[in-house]
């Protein structure tokens, strides 16, 4: 109520009061979202402890066996080492169907069966190689996955504490353990590794992974160092991280020539690697006991996106090949357990190398991978007779049970310590359940020790007992992993509730202020109807859109959904214009524009396909974006030519036109035509022009800010001035946006200009009709709804999707690129809606339109807030949903950032456009 009281006393539409209101809203939203996020995006506490070799003496599993040969160094740490050296080749974004044979799938796609060398070795009966399907845990971004792989834990959506700024992993991890235990690690490829582990590698050959358009630098660097390093003996673990497939996916999609070329290149390289390894695999040679792992860190969709939790993104693969021959085959019961290999990776590799498991690892030693490699002990007395292999199997199971014992003990210890040291631990019931399972397994193992000395007839029972033992441990570990999956992101419901409550209050205040403004502007003397058909329709549409966020299906189809609603409102507008027999052309054009947007959204979901074969077509395709650029530049020129406003503004707009010219030049140079252009331009190829455009953009923004301080606007000229300012600031943003969003940029910019113009025109339709009888709210609700829906459509037109949105933007440019067309431009451009065709010179009219602008911004902010509130509500309801991290959380973060950004931009606009009356 205080707000309304205060409101009465201030002149509305004035700069200060407008700013105060918007700032209050921004503040409320910030507080609400902060509270909610702190309850929702909780991360697990990272424990500072590190595993030590000596810890194992506390375990109930007894000390590890001494090496039977005695020719090893004799010291075993937690487990008996099964391999001496390890080669890990990480192929970024390796889909499962890149690796698995095409017979595995219903339909053979062009990108399948390209890594033939893996098939060859996996199918050869005498080689110890297998292809596993590995399922990654979302979020499926490289950084999070590498962290998950090396710590054996479940990195949460935001790892607060270390992901901001320096991403180095502080938690105990595989690489730390390797270094701690005297293993020498060599790394080559993606420089993310050196960011995560800055001081761990003996040697490293990092290559920058930032430039997504660069398919080859990282890979070629890897290739040039990989083979020579294989001949060296100064390392124990080699990590090579190839990025080409990931980048090819991002740029060209999976179904592209570039992708297939990359896969073929990898095939060649892997063949060479295996060749070298095999040539050195003899007794006493370098790679006598080496394990080769070829693995993906996550998958990718057909469009090359990843980050979420869809099957295509989480399904990846591990190819493992031991240079020794396997002596046993594992009983098929263990086959099904190869699913969560990524979580199990740290534990399995630690067990194989005989180093302590990372402290926070909750994976289990994978039986398949362990059998493949660790079944290769005692190769000398290899015999095919069945009793022998039975004995071997039993020996293997004995070993495996022992490893699992240590594994379970380590996980149990971690769970206990975690519960003790973390504020939000596991629930008592769950802990008790897990503890029971562990006690059961340990008791069984005690009883097993009594009959450990197996005589002939006892062997059978011992075999079964061992199997039971392994099952018990496996069940325990599986339930811990399950528990961790559901619980490591324990939501703080109270915080979430408070945040949501504040959000609701902010909406209430918003509505109150809107109502207030509406009441002020309506002259009491005239007969008024504050409710109009347009208002009802807008409310319905906004509510329908907001409610649709409660279901994951609608979020997935949001592009089409928004378009459907926009088309509905557009068609109603067309009907209205036919009814009043005015502006039929504009309404039809608007519907036509929507249908174009609709097809763009559908096409935008697939990346640009290969360029047509015809050369002439190629040139046309390359130069097509320049056409809308020219149109935009002409529009800008027209706008400065026919107005008599501030010289500085004109100067800024001219700067934008110059930027457009630079942009056109840049694209021409990048295109296939570049061979024809004169050599003079070679000097400015590459990054020069984009940088120049960014710098110019910043300079223009600064000059606009300066203008703000020095300029005094006459009240009567406000309308024209506001339009010019809007045009200026939009043109400044547009050049940067277009270079960021690539060649589709000008088209989308043109679409937004046309769309904005049409909406402004169509607003006139209602204004003429009902100016006298309706309030501002009824008048502006429909255009503003259209405006916001159009903005949302433009987001999807530019080929965006929530999945590819990374939570901590690497650079501010990415944020601009993501939010540019959907938030920045529409918010800054809203004054055009009000001031378009503004001709009156009366001060009173200006006052009136200032209030209108204030109201428009209020409605726009309200629509954004309602939408976001429903997203938040959806997250509350669906917080245990399967897709919460894959879909809802990215959507939540996107909307929340969008809301704050919009609020902040509205604040800026209130300073920029409003004048003190």
């Amino acid at each position: 109520m205080a707000v309304t009281e205060w409101w009465k006393n201030t002149s509305c539409g004035g700069r200060r009061s407008a700013f105060m209101v918007f700032f209050l809203v921004l503040l409320l939203h910030c507080i609400a979202i902060l509270l909610f996020t702190s309850g929702f995006l909780l991360t697990r506490t990272e424990l500072p402890h590190h595993s030590q070799c000596s810890d194992v003496s506390q375990s109930p599993c007894g000390l590890p066996d001494r090496s039977p040969q005695g020719d090893h160094d004799g010291v075993t740490c937690w487990t008996k080492p099964a391999v001496d050296r390890l080669v890990i080749i990480v192929l970024d974004a390796l889909r499962f169907d890149f690796v698995a044979p095409s017979t595995f799938f219903e339909e053979k796609k062009p990108w399948m069966d390209k890594l033939q060398v893996l098939h060859k070795f996996a199918s050869e009966s005498e080689s110890a190689a297998r292809i596993f399907k590995a399922i990654a845990d979302p979020p499926t971004t490289s950084l999070q996955r590498l962290k998950g792989l090396t710590t054996g834990g479940l990195p949460t959506f935001i790892d607060i504490g270390n992901s901001f700024g320096a991403p180095a992993i502080v938690e105990d991890n595989l690489i730390h353990q390797l270094v701690q235990n005297g293993k020498r690690v060599v790394m080559m490829g993606d420089d993310t590794w050196t960011q995560l582990f800055p001081h761990h590698f003996n040697k490293s050959y990092p290559y920058p992974s930032f430039n997504v358009k660069d398919l080859d630098t990282v890979d070629n660097g890897c290739i040039s160092h990989l083979i020579p390093t294989l001949y060296d003996d100064d390392w124990d673990v080699l990590i090579a991280h190839f990025l080409g497939v990931d980048h090819a996916g991002h740029i060209f999609g999976v179904d592209s020539v570039q992708m297939i070329e990359k896969l073929q290149q990898y095939n060649e390289q892997l063949e060479k690697v295996v060749e070298v390894l095999q040539s050195q695999a003899g007794r006493g040679s370098l790679h006598e006991n080496t394990l080769l792992l070829v693995m993906g860190d996550h998958g990718q969709t057909i469009n090359g996106d990843h980050g979420g939790g869809s099957a295509e993104e989480v399904d990846t693969s591990i190819f493992a090949m031991s240079l020794r021959k396997p002596s046993i085959t594992v009983p098929p019961e263990f086959d099904a357990s190869s699913l969560h290999l990524q979580l199990d990776f740290a534990a399995t590799v630690s067990a194989l190398l005989g180093i302590p498991f990372p402290y926070g690892s909750i994976g289990r030693v994978n039986p398949m991978l362990y059998a493949l490699v660790a079944g290769t002990w005692n190769l000398e007395d290899y015999d095919m007779s069945s009793s022998q292999s039975q004995l071997k199997l039993e020996e293997w199971m004995h070993n495996y049970a022992k490893v699992l014992c240590i594994n379970s003990w380590q996980v149990k210890k971690y769970i206990d310590v975690y519960t003790a040291s973390s504020v939000i631990g596991f629930s008592v019931d769950d802990l008790k359940h897990v503890a029971d399972m562990y006690a059961q397994a340990v008791n069984w193992s005690d009883s097993l020790h009594d009959v450990a000395s197996c005589k002939d007839e006892a062997c059978r029972t011992s075999f079964d007992a061992l199997k039971k033992q392994i099952d018990l441990y496996s069940n325990f570990l599986a339930s811990v992993a399950e528990l961790a999956r559901t619980k490591f992101t324990e939501f703080n419901l109270r915080m979430m509730g408070i945040g949501f409550g504040i959000l609701l209050i902010s909406i209430f205040i918003h509505v109150l202020v809107i109502k207030r403004v509406d009441d002020i502007t309506v002259f009491p003397s005239r007969e008024t109807s504050s409710v109009s058909f347009g208002l009802i329709v807008s409310c319905t549409i906004v509510t329908a859109r907001a409610c649709s966020f409660l279901s994951n299906s609608y979020i997935l189809e949001e592009g089409k959904m928004t378009n459907f609603l926009l088309a509905s409102i557009g068609m109603l507008g067309l009907r209205h214009s036919i009814m009043t027999k005015k502006m039929i052309f504009e309404a039809t054009a608007f519907v036509f524009l929507i249908s174009i947007l609709r097809f763009t959204i559908e096409l935008g979901l697939s990346k640009p396909q290969e360029v047509l074969d015809f050369h002439s077509w190629m040139y046309v395709a390359d130069l097509m974006p320049i056409v809308p650029l020219i149109i935009l530049a002409c529009l800008l020129y027209k706008s400065i030519a026919c107005s008599s406003c501030n010289r500085l503004l004109k100067f800024v707009i001219t700067g934008s036109i110059f930027s457009y010219i630079l942009l056109a030049l840049h694209w021409t140079l990048e295109s296939n035509l570049s061979s024809m252009t004169p050599l003079i331009f070679d000097g400015i190829k590459g990054n020069f022009i984009p940088r120049a455009i960014y710098i110019m953009g910043i300079a223009q923004l600064l000059s606009l800010a300066v203008l703000q301080f020095f300029e005094e606007v006459e009240i009567s000229k406000w309308g024209e001035m506001a339009v010019m300012k809007a045009v200026a600031i939009l043109s400044v943003w547009s050049s940067t946006l277009m270079i960021l969003s690539g060649k589709q940029g000008p088209w989308i910019a043109l679409a937004s200009v046309v769309g904005g113009w049409l909406i402004s025109r169509l607003k006139g339709l209602e204004q003429d009709n009902k100016n006298a009888t309706t309030g501002l709210l009824a008048l502006y609700s429909s255009p503003v709804t259209q405006w916001s829906l159009l903005a949302s459509c433009l987001f999807f037109c530019s080929g965006h999707w929530f999945d590819e949105f990374t939570i901590i933007p690497q650079a501010i440019l990415l944020t601009i690129e993501t939010y540019g067309f959907s938030h920045i431009l529409p918010t800054l451009g809203l004054p055009i809606l009000v001031a378009y065709k503004y001709s009156s010179n009366e001060a009173k009219q200006t006052r009136q339109s200032l209030i209108q602008l204030f109201q428009v911004y209020l409605i726009y902010g309200l629509i954004m807030a309602v939408t976001t509130t429903f997203t938040v509500l959806c997250v509350i309801i669906q917080k245990r949903h399967l897709m919460v991290w894959g879909l809802f959380a990215p959507k939540f973060v996107f909307d929340v950032v969008g809301l704050i950004l919009t609020d902040a931009l509205i604040c800026v606009s209130s300073v920029f456009y409003f004048i003190q009356t």
Partner: protein, 186 residues
């Protein structure tokens, strides 16, 4: 099971059988009530109705595509059948009754100001069919993977329900008007 069967039936409807039955009924029936009774013959009204069928189908198909109906050769026949059905619900009666009288069309479809019983009989079911179809599109994106979620089955469902509701409403209004006139007459 039940759903599947229903879906199948509806598919039959969209295949065009319904249109085949519906069109003659609608055309013949509404042509009886042609507005310019004195100027044009019954046959002329029937011909107008038949002419209105493809025109209305094109308008509906375009509208559906703008709203997001799938485009492609495999959808062509379905969209065609659907739009013919919609045209039968909306355009054909109006074409039979009003012919090319723009004023009447404008009054019924743009301003929604029906005057007589016939106006109600045309206006309400047509709007009902369109609004029903609009709501019928909502279940389409859901991931239930039912056969009836495919284009245009549930939209057809919605349109038919809307049409029937509109029919009922117009019938009620007609009865109401007649009775109120009786009262006035008394």
């Amino acid at each position: 099971m039940k759903n599947k069967k229903k879906g199948h039936n509806i598919k039959d409807i969209t295949r065009g059988d319904a249109v085949l039955i519906e069109v003659p009924v609608v055309v013949l029936l509404y042509s009886l009530f042609r507005k310019d009774m004195n100027q044009s013959s019954y046959l002329k009204a029937v011909a107008r109705g038949l002419l209105g069928l493809p025109v209305g189908a094109v308008v509906h198909a375009l509208g559906a595509i703008v709203l997001g109906a799938p485009v492609g050769t495999q959808y062509f026949l379905r969209t065609l059948n659907w739009s013919l059905l919609m045209s039968t619900f909306t355009f054909v009666p109006a074409a039979s009754v009003y012919g090319s009288s723009w004023v009447d069309w404008h009054r019924i479809f743009a301003q929604t100001k029906p005057i007589g019983s016939i106006d109600y009989m045309i206006c309400l079911p047509a709007h009902g069919a369109v609004i029903g179809g609009w709501f019928g599109a909502w279940p389409m994106p859901l991931d239930w993977e039912r056969t009836w979620q495919e284009w245009p089955i549930c939209v057809t469902y919605g349109a038919i329900i809307g049409y029937l509701v509109g029919m009922l409403a117009s019938f009620c209004s007609a009865v109401f008007r007649v009775s109120s006139q009786h009262v006035k007459g008394d």
